[in-house]
Amino acid sequence: MDIKVDAAVNINNRTYDVEKIRSDFPILKTKVHGKQLVYLDNAATTQKPLYVIDKTNNYYNKYNANIHRGVHALSQEATEEFESARIIVKNFINALGKNEIIFTRGTTESINLVASSYGRKNIKEGDEIIISTMEHHSNIVPWQMLCAEKKAKLKVIPINDQGEIIFEEYEKLISEKTKFVSVVYASNSLGTVNPVRKIINLAHSYNIPVMLDAAQAVNHIKIDVQELDCDFLAFSGHKLYGPTGIGILYGKVNYLDGMPPYQGGGDMISKVTFEETTYNELPHKFEAGTPDIAGAIGLGAAIEYVQNIGLENIAHYENQLLNYATNAVSDLQGLRIIGTAKEKISVLSFHLENVHPHDVGTFLDFEGIAIRTGHHCTQPLMKRFNIPATSRASFGLYNTKEEVDVLVRGLTKILEVFG
């Protein structure tokens, strides 16, 4: 089969020029062990374009000040940039209002916020919370902690051998006892894109709120929270070509309004006396303390960067790459792809017979290739597939067909040594 990946393709009347895109990312010129870096660990974190780096530096170079509390010029400029980043995020996921966009440290903190605040207030003994087998530890542990505290039960939707949620099993699990559903939109270990629309619809027919872990989805799939009708959604800036240490919690305003604050401190109050405190309005109620101001501005810039290329164009291109890579590795002896769902983001997890993923990782590193090896923070999922770990190549908007070829040559060498 001949699968085409054009370096400069015309999609939706816009040119996807991967060479030009690569030149936006200074790090891609790096050499590793004397070889050209081939960065295929985008599901762990993505590289940052100069546009994002510059915007972040600009804040520190030109208008560094604290926000929401100064009358001086720098503080006003910083506040304006910070708040306009919030509007960029709001428009990016099509939220109803900017008060539904809360800045957090990342996906992990967003999920913990909901489990702590919404969960502690609403989950009672005997209640049930539903997640799936393919969750990242960050969408397992907060719910486990909540369940332990409240004597509630965690129910897990099983998956099939392709790595897809078995919807009929979800239908069987959900009941009057279910009080919350939290599932991953796209799996970091398998690449599976879950039928979130259907999952939400079913939960809503029982009046159960649904949270989506969109950490791996935001940079591949156009998200419209109103159309999806999800109640909460979480993602991280660093997987979207933005900085680390910043992320988003989206929540419907009627839920957020009824939730107690997650942390207490500055910015989240409107009035404090030693007798009592009145909380600030949304979204500030959930943003105690000085946030990662540069991070928020950088995240806004990253979204602008991605939107300028167009998420549909990126998805189209990455899908071609995934197909090309899937096809290329299929010829390798003893290679088994873990995660063969019909709908996938550009994640290629695999297991080489008789070669442990750690050995694969060390060998590829010497070819300049960065991939992730291990359990990918999804140990229960590894158990489901009866393997301790996988090797995972994950593709971003700047990867090329030639880089896939370098990967395949590296894997071929490994098979020669261990064969």
Partner: protein
């Protein structure tokens, strides 16, 4: 293959990875421990039969792991059979110094015999845990500690 890689994956290591020695369970061990590497999810079980004189009569392992950890466990079991507990502890210390670079650039690897093949691990700090998991687990088994050995 690059020089550093070749030093890490020596023929002896590849061979022990492919056909590990003493890769079996012992039905009634006098000493036993489980080891676990949280970084990669690998696990190893070490079985020993230590007689009344404190001599290791039999030693074996089971589990899953990378080439480095499997070869390390395999070589360890081959070397420790017939040794006393004290001798085993001494070899462990030397081995640990070897892979963590404490022996310096010119390690006195003569006393280490075959274990010298693990000298290359020093260049790969991320892989030191792989090489030492079996050893930590063996020490735990000798002390018959109930908790799991965790390479952290």
């Amino acid at each position: 293959m690059e020089q550093e890689l070749r030093e890490l994956y020596q023929e002896v290591i590849l061979d022990h990875n492919k056909s590990p020695r003493n890769f079996r369970a012992i039905e009634h061990p006098t000493n036993f421990a489980e080891g676990y590497n949280p970084l990669c999810g690998d696990n190893i079980n070490i079985f020993l039969i230590v007689n009344d004189e404190g001599i290791i009569e039999d030693i074996s392992f089971q589990g899953s792991g990378c080439a480095i950890s499997k070869a390390s466990a395999s070589l360890m079991t081959s070397i420790l059979k017939g040794k006393t507990i004290e001798e085993a502890e001494n070899v462990f210390e030397k081995f640990h110094e070897l892979v963590t670079d404490k022996l310096g650039d010119n390690p006195n690897i003569d006393d280490l015999g075959k274990l010298a093949v693990f000298a290359g691990v020093r260049e790969f700090p991320a892989r030191v845990k792989c090489a030492s998991l079996a050893w930590h687990t063996m020490i735990n088994a000798l002390h018959n500690k109930k908790e799991k050995a965790v390479t952290e």
